[in-house]
């Protein structure tokens, strides 16, 4: 056992002495979390729009002001003719145009009916739909106010409750995904490269002739990275809560344990890759192809897995990050306990065991 301990110490020293890599391992996750945690969101706000007001009366002005004041919209242009609309869209200046016809208020007061046209740039359908909905809601509010907020008879009122994320903040959806991505990246990729570096440098042979069994060698190699990863988990959680504003609603202990589990899974993948790769380049390339891209694609935070064709959905089940993403959402955002995530946890544990088993049985005690 003391041999094992010596090995671990050597591995820790390796990392500690390689300041550059250590710097990357600790700072990279922090920088990435902040960068992507803030920047990646599909929340709709400050969308550039233009208004073509052909009436310029009190009603249109009132509505225009409401719209301009809304945090969803950023009124950037007041158009003067219908022809300008296409040109303005084509120049990429706006996402939506609202058109008031002539005599808007007159028609509204005298014939009780007036028209408004909302033209949305449907290049991005979701944004177009969301903006259209927001604009319509504002117009409806105005309409209601004209009637002194008198309700129509036989009205069904809808009470809307937004669960877990009442302000519809984008961070709640993306931050758990970024967490998965960053942990996966640091643990798996960096680990596999470090192990392969040893192979490249030739010191691997020295280790292999030592009396320590291969299983323990592997474990010893990964423990320092496990420690760094735990540090990373702590940083990521702190950043999520205090900088990105995503609170931990559920049990902190459960969240940490699940994160450690995911880290171990990622490390197992890293070990597996390092087994097969002969050069650091190959290790990095393989990590990218088999870890980074799948995590990005199939974890569910960037692309909706439920919309994918069945074949891809099946593939997504093999990606550990997908399960971790579900776990983080359930525990951190929904505030649920273990009962809600035991299935996903079991899957991660299973994956880890399978990966470790394969790694160990394939770990060549002879290098050739």
């Amino acid at each position: 056992m003391s041999q094992f301990y010596i090995f671990v110490k050597k591995e820790c020293l390796h990392i500690w002495r390689d300041r550059r890599t250590l710097f990357i391992l600790v700072w990279m996750p922090i920088v990435q979390i902040i960068l992507y945690g803030f920047a990646l969101t599909n929340e709709v706000k400050n969308s550039r729009i233009a208004i073509l007001d052909q009436s310029k009366d009190d009603a249109t002005t009132a509505i225009s002001n409401e719209i301009a004041a809304s945090r969803y919209f950023n009124l950037v242009k007041n158009l003067h003719s219908y022809r300008d609309i296409d040109a303005t869209f084509k120049q990429g200046l706006i996402r939506m145009a609202i058109v008031f016809p002539r005599n808007f208020q007159y028609d509204l007061l005298h014939s009780n009916r007036a028209q408004v046209q909302i033209i949305a740039d449907a290049s991005d359908p979701n944004t177009a739909n969301t903006l259209t909905n927001y604009a319509t809601a504002i117009i409806n509010d105005y309409q209601l106010s004209l009637n002194n907020n008198e309700q129509l008879p036989y009205t069904i009122k809808t009470q809307l409750r937004m669960l877990y994320n009442p302000e519809l903040k984008g961070a709640y959806n993306f931050v758990p995904g970024v967490m998965a991505l960053v942990l996966m990246l640091v643990c798996a990729m960096m680990t596999s490269m470090a192990i392969v570096k040893e192979k490249e440098m030739g010191t691997m042979e020295v280790i292999l002739v030592s009396p320590l069994r291969p299983f323990w060698i592997i474990i010893a190699k990964t423990i320092p990275y496990l420690l760094v990863s735990v540090l990373n988990i702590a940083c990521i959680l702190l950043l999520s809560v205090f900088v990105l504003g995503v609170p931990i609603t559920g049990n902190l202990g459960l969240l940490i344990w699940e994160s450690v589990l995911f880290t171990v899974t990622s490390l197992s993948i890293g070990i597996l890759i390092s087994n097969g790769a002969k050069t650091q380049q190959a290790a990095m390339f393989t990590s990218m192809m088999s870890l980074f891209l799948p995590t990005l694609l199939f974890s569910g935070f960037l692309f909706p897995v439920e919309n994918m064709p069945v074949a891809l959905q099946v593939i997504s089940n093999v990606v550990p990050a997908k399960w971790y993403y579900i776990i983080v959402k359930s525990v951190m955002i929904k505030g649920l306990g273990f009962f809600a995530v035991w299935k996903e946890t079991l899957i991660l544990v299973g994956m880890t065991l399978i990966l470790l088993f394969i790694s160990i049985s394939k770990f060549k005690i002879r290098l050739a």
């Binding site: 803030f38 990646l40 950023n74 909302i118 008198e150 309700q151 008879p153 709640y172 380049q281």
Partner: protein
Amino acid sequence: MRALKFLLQKELRQIFRDPSIFFILFIMPMIQLMILPLAADYEIKNINLGVVDHDHSGYSRKLINKIVSSGYFRLKDYSSTFSQALRGIELDKTDLVLEIPAQFERKLVKENESTILVAANAINGVKAGLGSAYIQGIIGDFNQDVRMQWIQAPRFNPQPTIDVEYSDWYNPDMNYRDFMVPGILVMLVTMIGSSFASNNIVREKEMGTIEQINVSPIKKTQFILGKLIPFWMLALAVLTVGLFIARIFYGIVPLGHYLTIYVFASIYLLAILGLGLLMSTYAQTQQQSMLVSFFVTMVFNLLSGLYTPIESMPQWAQIITRLNPVSYFIEVMRMVVLKGSGLADIKYQILALLGFAVFFNGWAIVNYKKRS
């Protein structure tokens, strides 16, 4: 300039002799363009619905029917209590829960008003927003139907109504393919331009052949051009293959001109290749170069507006995207393909990219020293 001819000859020979060229030129575009768009479908559809009906009346059943037959929702759960239905949301079986209270129909008819509860899993704000908008729209329609049943048209108290007319321009099918494929194509071309070019130069550094070049009378600019031109051509070739695949497999035909795309792409590549060149002047080993390329690519990728809208980002992040040449090309690609924008419409972006090209290439040329 004769030396340039020899440099180009050598580069092109090396490129075509490299077996991975076939992979880059054909396989990679195919994989990226055929798998990614399948994954990147952000359309809000198949919303899983849970229903709690305490009323079991004619109206409640009619309403539920109407919602389910709209096509937006899939009825996945029918519970008897709200907390039971909530379990569905907790376990991600349902996205939205509709609770119709007891006495719903009676209250509506007798007291003129009734309330329905809609609870949505709002972790994905856009999904929750659109989902609840859809369901409210359907409820509103149902409401109108009920009103029509009870009130004769003329007895309607005439109230000012604003009719909203909706038009969706440029993507009438509301199709995410058309939105994502052009962007993904940009990514593909960018990778060739920056990573591959950069790696190539660093490989020469590692092999020592760069030293041989440095000791020869070849001028700095000749060497740099000798590297830029082949990769520029390669990237444009990949662009062509990609546009072809887009047309054949997705039926995506640009509303604007192909020429506009090529003109912009040419300038864009100058900038991106310049960046790759710049990165290579700093890296000593291929491993360093790959690592740096990887991270730069990741940042450019994620902060380009390809997957998440730039307007949703905080101000400081938007500034970063203004410094990211990729976001310009993605913007332009979408504009030309979907809206038919022309060269005049994108002059601002062209200028920006020219600026990038001068900046990156200039810096790289200054950095690259034949003599250290």
